[in-house]
Symmetry: C2
Subunit: 391 residues, 2 copies
């Protein structure tokens, strides 16, 4: 089941989860959500992964055909897991974790009735906590994505032709992303985070509020997907913010750069410069132990001091965060909000994205992906940060 | 809240849902999943839609800012809905439908405690049943998608260059899809249906089993997305099956055509011809009242008679359906399986996809989207159906 080169990485993850289950007196956890299965097995399958508090995990597979391995059983329905537990003398869990923030109510109820635990707990919360501290192999994949991400951004000026719309510009960037190895699929956590490959925001569209939990909005091209580019013509004096996903491995980097059609207003350059200053200040003070709320509050104070609060993270609707963990999904932990209880820990990877919306011009600012090291931050997404003129 | 040109369509949908609730003695249904919100409001928002058994619906919105309308209330958390019900003298539902197959367990429990109904039922099941009978406005959108879908497929031969891989070919097709107005996002129902824009299957890769519930598999380009193209070189004698989404409106058409690099084996042409025959037979007998299981069984019998069962709908793993409803999501009701209890009804829209995998060659067969009319089927996706030689 587990590919040989992944064995060490998977065992490291299992042992972290088991340690946490031992501390909380949990007997086992059952995972079935695709991103969690990928995290603990290195592949996606239709079925279940059961990890007891101690010992080796069990794999219950519906599809695909042809998988083999220790403790691997093919099933057609979840009820068969209980039969296998009995046959093999596996201890039935009295305290069981299920993915309560991810699997549908009816599926959860069915799994409860299969195992009939005395108590159930939240595997989603545990897995999100585990997943936010990346393993060496995961960090390697971020580095790969970051390199491809930057290579693709270097091709962006060649995508531009005067008179094109934001959607035409985006199509050219998407094409280069795919050519450079983008997997395409953009995974998010939660039910209100739909997006397709990323977002291009230009001109007045940058002010459009969105239903989603992303930093900025945009009207989108269809009411069924109200986010991002909406057909705005990229005319002289427009800021074009490019925030396309770095999904070149299963671990996505997040990176935003601003391009301009000709010159922008003084306010736009001032706000962009302030974003760079915020990033610099945060890079200076961040280290293991720094609280995420402090990072938000430092940014907000700098913005306040410059009198730019009404443009910060939107105008008509303002996001209340300036960064977020990244990984298999784009919105992992921690989140950099005014009231976050989280602190930075070594091997967290997060995106920092102080941004401004300038009415009539577009959005400006910066976003980079950072690794938390033992002593501070390491920037993963290396690419020039000033506003880049498209002609 | 509801755009004027959509009022009639939305009122039609609300009255259908209300009629069903009246019949089952249900007091109201609360919807929050994006595709269901889009179905009943014509837009995506973060919040809730409450439809009582009689009268007008209520809109509880978290985001985006700036929406207005009758019975529209901004909230920050679901508990505020109960306060508003009390303030406005709205009857609290004793029997309430929630989206039990879609919303996470913890969200469902929270909504139950907000409304404290005596009984809850499954809004997912009801909405899927309602959504499978399309309204005139929805059918118009299918017609638009189908037209754009066929236009894009006509450009496919120009995407091909000898020596390219399936991924390079797919990238060129994706580019044309986007240029022709594809929204990009490919929506599926259920947690085991990830895909990016569609699938290209060529050569040996067509045999690779997938964890997902799609008709065919393919290894994919990364273990985090094991479906479709995997880097196969499109060499002489290869069948290239193109099954890319027709998401040119919120209503997706589904359409597959087969292209060949040079000539294929006799078996490949024979199997392809059988797919066309199956389609023809099914077109002949289908009308309102025809059972979906009969359609499957007719296809299976034709395949059996020709001795091609071991290639039908895959080899190493064989799908047990030959068609499925389409709409806002690619896998709606009905499903054409051997034991389906569903019958065709006027204004259902479904994809019919009899396909074969020919070892070493690739996949062949056909897929079209059909509207069920009062008297039979109307094919929506009109484009030549023989195997198209790429050079």
């Amino acid at each position: 089941m587990i590919q040989q080169e992944l064995t060490g990485d998977m065992e490291l993850k299992w042992s972290r989860i088991q340690k946490s289950m031992q501390q909380s007196g949990t007997d086992g956890c059952l995972l079935t959500v695709d991103v969690n299965l990928f995290y603990v097995t290195g592949q996606i399958f239709n079925g279940y992964f059961y990890l007891p508090q101690e010992g080796t995990p069990f794999f219950f597979v519906k599809r695909p055909n042809g998988l083999t391995g220790e403790n691997l059983f093919y099933i057609r329905k979840p009820e068969q897991m209980a039969d296998i537990f009995r046959e093999k003398g596996i201890k039935m869990p009295e305290k069981l974790l299920l993915e309560g923030d991810e699997i549908p109510y009816n599926e959860y109820i069915r799994l409860q009735s299969v195992f009939q635990p005395k108590e159930t707990g939240n595997a989603t919360a545990l897995l999100r906590k585990m997943r936010c501290i990346k393993t060496p192999m995961e960090i390697e994949q971020f580095r790969y994505s970051a390199r491809k991400h930057a290579e693709t951004y270097a091709e962006i000026p060649s995508c531009f032709r005067l008179g094109m719309t934001d959607l035409e510009f985006q199509n050219e960037i998407e094409r280069r992303m795919r050519k450079n190895g983008s997997i395409g699929l953009f995974r998010t956590f939660g039910s209100n985070m739909d997006i397709y490959m990323g977002s291009i925001l230009a001109g007045e569209n940058a002010e459009n509020p969105s239903p989603f939990d992303f930093a900025l909005g945009g009207g989108g091209m269809n009411p069924s997907l109200p986010i991002g580019a909406n057909g705005t013509v990229l005319k002289d004096g427009t800021a074009v913010m490019v925030d396309m996903a770095g999904n070149f491995s299963a671990y996505m980097t997040d990176m935003t750069r601003v391009f301009s059609v000709g010159k922008l207003s003084g306010l736009a350059y001032k706000a962009h410069q302030l974003s760079l200053t915020i990033q610099e200040e945060i890079e200076k003070i961040s280290k293991p132990g720094t609280s995420c709320s402090e990072l938000y509050n430092i940014a907000a104070a700098l913005v306040e001091k410059e009198g730019l609060s009404s443009y910060f993270m939107g105008t008509k609707q303002q996001a209340k965060f300036i960064g977020h963990g990244i990984g298999i999904q784009i919105n992992e932990l921690p989140v950099l909000t005014p009231r976050s209880k989280e602190v930075l820990e070594p091997n967290m990877v997060f995106a920092l994205e102080p941004k401004f919306v300038i009415p009539g011009i577009g959005a400006v600012g910066i976003e980079n992906s950072f690794l938390v090291t033992e002593t501070g931050l390491e920037k993963l997404t290396i690419f020039k940060e000033e506003i880049i003129e498209l002609y």
